[in-house]
Amino acid sequence: MAEAHPVGFQWVLEAKAHGATVIHVDPRFTRTSALADTFVPIRAGSDIAFLGGVVNHILSNELDFREYVVAYTNAATIVHEDFRDTEDLDGLFSGFDPQTQAYDPSSWRYQGHAREEHAREYGPADRETAAGMQHESHGPPIPSAVERDETLRHPRCVYQILKRHFSRYTPEMVEQVCGVPPEQFARVCEAWTRNSGRERTTALVYSVGWTQHSVGVQYIRTGAIIQLLLGNMGRPGGGIMAMRGHASIQGSTDIPTLFNLLPGYLPMPSAGRHDTLDAWVDAIRHPGQKGFWGHARAFAVSLLKAYFGDAATAENDYCYGHLPRLTGDHGTYQTVLNMLDGRVKGYFLLGQNPAVGSAHGRAQRLGMAQLDWLVVRDLYEIESATFWRDGPEVETGEIVPQECKTEVFLLPAASHVEKEGTFTQTQRLLQWRQKAVEPPGDCRSELWFFYHLGRLIKARLAGSTLRRDRPVHDLAWEYPTHGPYDEPSAEAVLREINGFDVATGAPLPGFNELRDDGSTACGCWIYSGVYAGGVNQAARRTPASEADPIGLEWGWAWPMNRRMLYNRASADPDGRPWSERKAYVFWDSDRGEWTGPDVPDFERTKPPTYRPEPGTTGSAGIAGDDPFVMQADGKGWLFAPSGLVDGPLPAHYEPVESPVTNPLYPQQANPTRKRFQRSENPINPAHSAVFPFVFTISRLTEHHTAGGMSRTLEYLSELQPEMFVEVSPALAAERGLEHLGWAHVVTSRSAIEARVMVTPRMRPLRIDGRPVHQIWLPYHWGSSGLTTGDSANDLVGIVLDPNVLIQESKVGTCDVRAGRRPRGAALRALVEDYNRRAGL
Amino acid sequence: MNRPAREHGGEDVQVPRAEFRSYYGRPILKAPVWKHDVPAYLFTGGLAAGSALLAAGADLTGRPKTRRAARLAALGALGASTYFLINDLGRPERFHHMLRVAKPTSPMSVGTWLLSAFGGAASLAATTEARPRGWTARAGRAAGLGAAALAPGLATYTAVLVADTAAPSWHAARADLPFAFAGSALASGAAVGLIAAPVREGGPARTLAVAGVALEVAATHRIETGLGLLGEPYRTGKAGRLLRAARALNLAGAAGAVLGRRSRVLSALSGAALLAGSLATRFGVFEAGVASTKDPKYVVEPQRG
């Protein structure tokens, strides 16, 4: 966190100054470790084993926050007798189909639910569309009434299933898998549990070191299980903080740049499954379900009204037919492989540098070399615009500049200080950015680019009567512009995102005012309220000296300016604070409402004693003591009966490339991972002597992602002037690597060279009695800029998590050799020789 | 690097803390930015001062040839000094900024004013040699005496100049450096007499040579041996070689001055040896100070003392 989020890390140090204990678990000693109270070195890719060990410690010692667990989680819920755990099936859950390598999740359902009631969709399709992402703002559906045993003794209650599932995650197993000695592990368990409960809370912070794995989603699930068991969710000082990879990555999932989502986590319709507006809306709201998702039709119709304006009417289903439909995986990696097959003609890159920043750089560059045209909008001439003349494949002869057919349009972009708009950070806080300076020369904002591109396309197609051009004609594309270059008003866009009354144009106060009759338009329902009262709420900057305790008047957080989600959980089932020390949101019985410093994440006047009539649906179906209001049962899910492609509980699977045989289960790697078995994408065999070492890749504070914004600046380049690889003194001795000398790192995809940094911050771990060496590489370098070097991402293969289609780029296996890598065609020969020896 | 604490051969030992620790062995101090102009100036300044003193003595005791030679030598050395001083500046065209202020806390400021005053007097004295009769001679004597009065200051302030720095071996030598420089200046002044004046006028110069060498050798000996660790830079490396050469040249020059009192050639050779010796002393002292800034142990150990 200190490495990649130094500004956010100030709050960790603030907590430390207030007495917090900071524990850092990482494959490598980083700037974060330097400031932590405890550093725990761990083998990359073994975190579920580590966290599972913590779960086991909690459950076998009954250290959970029992009152919270019984009331607020699904620990007491009985799971259907059809369910079989990994304990019974050698590391697989029930429902696995070896043919499709996917699960039928119907056996994971709760007791009392019919099979057909449960499984709306099926594993392979969910995997193709990264369906797991659709649950970011709300849980997946489950039928209403559930059976519960609040004594937690029923053998099939979630609590007992959890206990049995994690019982093999012993401290000895943690040592064997992670390389963490039992004493050190015990210290972590002790600190975490001692600091959780009624009086104290513990926060968990992770970053892309957890997500970029073939089991990435289950990493976070395991963390969530611990935090729920210890009562650390929805309470001040608790929670799970996701440090994002860029500015406004949260914003780009809320109003997504993702193929499978529409704004506000509305799923992109699928061809054949969601052919009508009603079919689509029902697939979102699930008639008969409890929870807030029951209003989905109002959100969906208002979005269509924002898109298509007056053309969207009740008669034409609000132009629902204009929305594109999914036909499978249209994610970034599938698209690149389609490029290699010549199936993609054109590509837009906006502030993205896949030639350096995406896994398997060689596939990225060779793919782009098959395009007809490529538009790159960036601040500098980045590698993704120059790969055809200076990429590594030019040296190897795989791309011949004179013959590369890709026509590249490089368009200069305005930087974040040269345009206005919002950033949404990980706390869901929108902060308005003023424009500080005019962009130089021909640089323009993205808003300008898309607005005028759309305007020109509409003008070009104005005379067309073709049916396929209808959506373009119908698009509502009126925005006020200003200045010499007709810059569209970003505030006007924010007003549209907020939503307005179609008749009067008045901004809406929040999503509760959205209607499904076409009388309201709203660009993103979860952002509704950001322009409440006609005021740009995201631009508020009340300083700490004048602010309320949690700064409600600094920017605006979705939903409804709520700063902590599920904050009803900060009070006990009766609505009283769990303790004075941790009081936050609580029930004021005199005034008959929830109160506290934050906006309560609960219906304001719904008392703790409220119990819905059986069969009540929608938000009214949520009881007064069910804090997780976006979940269909109002509970925090220790066990996920649906919504996940790879299992209802986390299980440790080895990374796809691992030097270790999975000690926990006969199943080596995630059985449902998304694979691409193609000649361009060989995967190192598990425990291969040819690729004996573990590599992991991350960032340096001094550089920004693929380097377009840092290797181009001399003040930043001089701080980390050259690509390097960190190795332990032991590995350096073993491989004859000299400090500041050269080494090259080889995988089945490529070989890259780097200067050697021998440092005790890297250390071999003892795994199953033998040393496992890990090396570390920064991924910032490429062929353009003031400082150039080989790209670490060239080493990475393409294997994806099945839930969200994120690549496993945080761990792989490799070989390391002293000296520089071969040049030209000899580079490919070296890699091919390795692959031959590895049996690939 | 830091705190070498590794076990060897499976032995459970913590290596005792090394004598001194540093940041990757990097120097703590900045090495002087002064190039060889500065030791050259130390020499020419001393030569000018020594020559002016010799000239004044010769004037007062009726040794016109010595006087004339010494005044001209002082003028020449003065010119060289001015050149070296200006040439060493990062912004030579701003030399006159030295004259914006007079700062007693800055030996360089003091020296600038000393050199300016001395320069005026010494130049006038030398100019009068064009017509060494009558009122010009009287003016020359007055100017020459004025220069001589400033000369000891000119010769010794440079010792304060280098000693008033953070360079450990210079600052540590602050008590003795003025004497070394004084001796060196006297010897170089005497050398002018030995080289340029007739043998019959050379008695005082020979005495002065012996006195100067004695002073210089004694002072440098104290510096080399009396400063503990900080004497090391004076005994080793380039500085050590220069100072050993200086001592040999000085002793040879002094011996030659005494033994060659009837030989013009031997006297001149002795003078040359003394000049070379003085030059080597200045460069040696300079190099020792520079060396002491480059190794952090010279900073850390004495301060830890």
């Binding site: - | 003595g57 030996p107 003025p178």
Partner: protein, 266 residues
């Protein structure tokens, strides 16, 4: 922070126990002061590729990797040993008795109304005396420019009530700017709060060899580990003694000349 009627002495307290080595101070300093870049050199000194304070680096973050013997099992070379990684943002000390200022022959180096020490670039003629005088190796002459440069404590910001650029950029308040007396109190409190035997203040004592530093530090090891002199003095402190010795040497010279000429008519 507002400019007061009669400004107090302002300074830095750099608390290295919360430094995360992000180098934002280095970059912010360069941006604000338009300091030239220093070249692309991989130094191999942990993450330090700046190397030292210099004419082109007015803040310098030092990185020190220290390994301690394994506490778990000293016989197992693969047992995770304890280590620590010290980081520290170094800067000009703005000494109470500033040798650089004392020895400057042009008056280019001056003391401001905030009791800080700055170089007036239009005066400096590059004599380099200050470079040799600084006991911390801070001030340096810039190649191709000929003048000396160093931290100004953002004289052009603090006069307008702003904090220096580095302190503004520092995310963890490792670099704290303020009235020196307040900073000294804060540092003492921090030291007590930290309660670690290896922690110590450096340069806070008005009775030390430079009369106390205007920019002082909380360190977690000996100063020399960070490249700092353990007990520096301003050489000018000994200037009266030096002038005395020089005077004595000058008198000796005069006496030697007198004796050489006395009673020796040719």
């Amino acid at each position: 922070m507002t400019l007061e009627q009669s400004p107090r002495r302002m300074g830095f307290f750099t608390d290295t126990s919360v430094c995360i080595g992000c180098k934002a101070c280095e970059v912010a300093c360069k941006e604000w002061n338009a300091v030239p870049a220093d070249g692309l050199d991989l130094l191999g000194m942990s993450f330090d590729n700046t190397g030292q304070l210099d004419a082109n680096s007015w803040r310098h973050v030092a990185f020190i990797e220290q390994t301690l013997p394994s506490s778990a099992d000293p016989h197992d070379p693969h047992a995770p040993g304890d280590m620590r990684w010290l980081m520290m943002s170094d800067v000009c000390k703005h000494c109470t008795h500033a040798a650089c200022l004392d020895v400057c022959p042009t008056g280019s180096l001056m003391r401001t109304e905030f009791d800080t020490v700055i170089v007036q670039a239009d005066i400096c003629n590059g004599c380099g005396y200050c470079v040799s005088a600084c006991p911390y190796g801070v001030i340096a002459r810039r190649e191709g420019d000929g003048r000396v440069w160093k931290c100004t404590l953002c004289y052009d910001r603090i006069g307008d009530g702003l904090q220096p650029a580095c302190a503004t950029a520092c995310p963890t308040e490792s670099i704290q700017y303020g009235p020196l007396d307040e900073l000294r109190e804060r540092a003492q409190a921090r030291l007590e709060q930290l309660d670690r035997p290896e922690a110590r203040l450096y340069g806070h004592d008005p009775d030390d060899g430079v009369g106390g530093q205007g920019a002082f530090f909380l360190l977690l090891d000996e100063p020399e580990v960070y490249g700092l002199p353990p007990a520096p003095i301003a050489s000018t402190r000994n200037l009266p003694q030096m002038w005395k010795r020089a005077g004595l040497a000058a008198l000796t010279m005069a006496a030697a000349v007198a004796v050489s000429f006395l009673g020796r008519r040719p």
